[in-house]
Symmetry: D2
Subunit: 353 residues, 4 copies
Amino acid sequence: MEEKKLDQPIRVAVIGGSGYTGAELMRLLLGHPRVQVTLVTGQSKAGQPVASVLPSLAGVYPGLIEGYDADETARRADVAFCALPHGASAGIVSELRDRGLVVLDLSADFRLSDPAIYKEWYGEHLAPARFGTAAYALVELHREALRTADLIAVPGCYPTAANLALAPLLKAGLVEPQGIIVDAKSGVSGAGRSPLPTTHLPEAAEGFRAYKAAAHRHTSEMEQELSRVAGETLRVTFVPHLLPMTRGILATCYALTKGDVTAEACTDAARALYEGSPSVVVRDAGTHPDTLWVRGSNRAHVGYVVDKRAGRVVAMCAIDNLVKGASGQAVQAFNVRFGFDEGEGLRAPAMWP
Amino acid sequence: MEEKKLDQPIRVAVIGGSGYTGAELMRLLLGHPRVQVTLVTGQSKAGQPVASVLPSLAGVYPGLIEGYDADETARRADVAFCALPHGASAGIVSELRDRGLVVLDLSADFRLSDPAIYKEWYGEHLAPARFGTAAYALVELHREALRTADLIAVPGCYPTAANLALAPLLKAGLVEPQGIIVDAKSGVSGAGRSPLPTTHLPEAAEGFRAYKAAAHRHTSEMEQELSRVAGETLRVTFVPHLLPMTRGILATCYALTKGDVTAEACTDAARALYEGSPSVVVRDAGTHPDTLWVRGSNRAHVGYVVDKRAGRVVAMCAIDNLVKGASGQAVQAFNVRFGFDEGEGLRAPAMWP
Amino acid sequence: MEEKKLDQPIRVAVIGGSGYTGAELMRLLLGHPRVQVTLVTGQSKAGQPVASVLPSLAGVYPGLIEGYDADETARRADVAFCALPHGASAGIVSELRDRGLVVLDLSADFRLSDPAIYKEWYGEHLAPARFGTAAYALVELHREALRTADLIAVPGCYPTAANLALAPLLKAGLVEPQGIIVDAKSGVSGAGRSPLPTTHLPEAAEGFRAYKAAAHRHTSEMEQELSRVAGETLRVTFVPHLLPMTRGILATCYALTKGDVTAEACTDAARALYEGSPSVVVRDAGTHPDTLWVRGSNRAHVGYVVDKRAGRVVAMCAIDNLVKGASGQAVQAFNVRFGFDEGEGLRAPAMWP
Amino acid sequence: MEEKKLDQPIRVAVIGGSGYTGAELMRLLLGHPRVQVTLVTGQSKAGQPVASVLPSLAGVYPGLIEGYDADETARRADVAFCALPHGASAGIVSELRDRGLVVLDLSADFRLSDPAIYKEWYGEHLAPARFGTAAYALVELHREALRTADLIAVPGCYPTAANLALAPLLKAGLVEPQGIIVDAKSGVSGAGRSPLPTTHLPEAAEGFRAYKAAAHRHTSEMEQELSRVAGETLRVTFVPHLLPMTRGILATCYALTKGDVTAEACTDAARALYEGSPSVVVRDAGTHPDTLWVRGSNRAHVGYVVDKRAGRVVAMCAIDNLVKGASGQAVQAFNVRFGFDEGEGLRAPAMWP
């Protein structure tokens, strides 16, 4: 990237650069023509060259992983992308905002707007003074708010997929707000870089299971956003599953139709809502979206089928959980915030196969 | 298996021995102490040694794949397991029954009891005279009928998983019969041995998608059996998905509770129904069944979670699609039919990891 | 397995039953008609039901994982299979031998016969008084010694594959003893049940690398056994690799031919050596063995190709690392030791696909 | 890519755009700032939108797959990348050259310089008049010749990996030219987009085997290039294997050292040869390159280990077979040919994980 010559690139820090979303931020930001990555922090790997921790960046990025320091970050960067676990994020986000940085937070700490709901699903908030001050970066639904936001909460991976599939139907009044089910399946990169029994290849590569059925925290983000679109409070039954593969989420969503609704009508509603959005591809009615076609890209593929016998829509959305479900969506929101083309740095097609 | 010395083993023919369910029949039957495999047929591989087509049987089974002939089969076998595609199966089943063999048919040709429903999902039946004469081999629900059946229809893989999870709830009146959703996920071995773009490793190993959403033929078997248990006609929204792995089906089923139902009540209902059944393990309430633990075995793992917020049960069942979902269930029905212990030849634990 | 009624089954303890080789011992021993598993020990899981730690055994084995105690083991078992790490094994093996049990040790502690070589590769031995007293259980090469052995050292997985491929060539004088290269590839189950970065699915499923090139401890077992067969001290260059799959080792071995040697001659030499051996299948000359066909079985598939242009044999062997490479070979040696048919409990074909 | 505004982009045709290397050319060329893709041809898919055949390009490339026509191609493009099978390529390359296009041919048709060797491995050449007129695009070894070449033969995937690992050692005189062994392992995308039994997921995902041992055509490219570097004719024993994953080649190469050679000396030799080469990363001595770190990128990772006991170097190289092993290397050669920075359009880091 040594040749990128820009008049005034935006100086960016990646806080928590050695996990999967941090590494993905690096991959995307190093190729972004308006960005200069000036700082990468990481707790356990501090002092090591980035290229040792991430050999994929050998020959690409010459710097070190550094220990985090708020003042040093403020001195060297205008914008911070925080790729930290929830809880650990709130305090750091808060002190970087205190120092005037625009912060994009990939954790759950600032996604919810109702403190009671946060408490129900996550417990005590660790920076309550800033609670509720963030714009929610499901860009396609919150573009205007993002243009002026200085604290941006990047959505969870599952809610991104489910909400992109369901929002057009609720907005167009094609489905009942009550009784929605989201049966979602995620590649194991969603579980992070720390090895676990459930991600150990011999037990993950040829096994499949649900986890936290009807008890996953991302339920709250689905309910918040879909209730807002529907104009009434709704409940979602959300069951996530762990797929024997690395990247990708498919959300298969079920909703009861209001009257005689066709897959074409659903598709039209989605095309209307996502017109001009570079990161959503609405497939033809009856098409089944496939995570294969979005791997490594910031694009969501949305598709609709109607079960006429049962009066139900099957709304499906495929994303790459690390890109549109995390780091790519963060960059997309960054583009909106700084007035760049929304697809800047995000135009690369999926890596296929 | 050369040492197996039995006074009067039952002579068994495997019709269609070179596909996946045929090979799995061979694996199971060659280890069954009451069986002697006397004949294996296959169309495209006729004349080749079984051990060439299935090197896993080198040193195990010395015979050839033979061309199919009804009279020859009747001369050499008392029982036939037919592992042929639907349509191709009906005629052969019929002529083997004409010759007095007990036939276990793994195709869909004799699973349904209503000819109109067969026609709706499969088209014209090719042996209408025998339509409706078979016992349906979801053993746990039809054990008595199987004891005297001479034509046995082995259930489809998806209905096996979905019906084992849901039947106890409907039978005990814990859930509403209407509004059931089955979101099922299958390893690609379910698609058979013929290479297809959707099973081509580069496009299957890191991709995930639904297919035939709300249009898969197995819907009819779920509706038939669950309606019978519920005592009323019901509709199922069924969406199958293809998993990036070889063996295993997980059915995640959603049903509305009748009143205040707990996961413990669902679990108790399942334990009551499956008491004494060697092929169903009911996991503790709140456990998520995993295909990993049933791979290669004839056991189904069933588990229940309740979403109290939405008044819905999540009923899950994990099976090996080639064993409990096909060939193993066929052997289990065979055991019932011939008065053997139901687990005979099927006791081996799953291969883990 | 509840119905197995034997006059005098041999009482067997599995020491270290919750890891992969321990679980595989359970799978094989619970199906062995001459064995009664009376005790399973495990350190971290002591007190838990086996079926909780290994849900694949739910409905199969009702007992608990117990803490290890030498006297208790001696009271309840005649034979112990030890599936412990090297170092941890030596002391326990020793005290079980002191109490008169026949011990089959799956660790490296008793595989080598030269203490200097042990020290070079493994460090200090922890039970030196018993060093050199074991029979080495590559059954096909040491059958006679095993018949009377009370301490049996089960070979490493890689040496099993490499030595089965190369021994016939050295024995028949078809290749030069010097200059042998073993390029081997193993599924990640060989790394054990503890999650590691290198076995974490996102980093293991689509990555491939060598490890410990020319520095892996199993080199010593290859050199010991092949030197013995060749009648002269030889060196092996051994490079192992980690495959993105669970089970299976393929050893691709390179040796210079002595004169004009054909693949047929190599194949004949192997067939001569392995005649009557139920666990080795010698494929036709020019065939490439595939781990796919041995998964879950105790069979090794061996095959030979000759590179005439370079005067070199390519000798290949495929095994399941957890079966013929560990637990299955232990059971095979047990059969020889107790005078059972060598294939007893090991006849099941590979699980395919 | 709609916003790319360049004064004079080079007009490029992709001939054979619907296979894997064609799709990868599209992915890379659509992101190349000096290129305008004006034409994509494909035989069986002609007339279909590119985004139907490659949904990863939905929203990226609006055109159709067209039938191939030499004159039309010449009218609309200055450069053609041909991603056709060998044999099928020679004639088309020839007629495009006749019309003045610069042609980069990804097939084997123009890689060899000796017609007798071509005939030995591939049979009759179908455009003998142009045989021997191409520059061989292993860029790091042939940079000068490529600057002025109008016909460029892009190397095979295996020879790229093997030759990058071995060339520095032969050039520096660190190893014996005779007795070299290349044991290489490739992801199944190397077998192309057509489904085959060996790429069928159930038989490929948990299986591993060699194929065409000592008989693969790529042997000829290794021998040609390594003989050239060594200054003497040498033979290579080459054994390829099919890995249960999609992308990536690891070549593990064995050569006898000349005297007392260290891994550091090998590493230094490689760093000297590849200094200034943006597409080769020489890892520290003793490091094992991993395909994981190069997936999706045009970088080769090279590393060396020495087996002092046996006097042998283990030289390893990891590449993405579809990028540095095919389409990326083609773009790299294109950059050299047209005087662009060698890394133009190829700087994106690997997709990890």
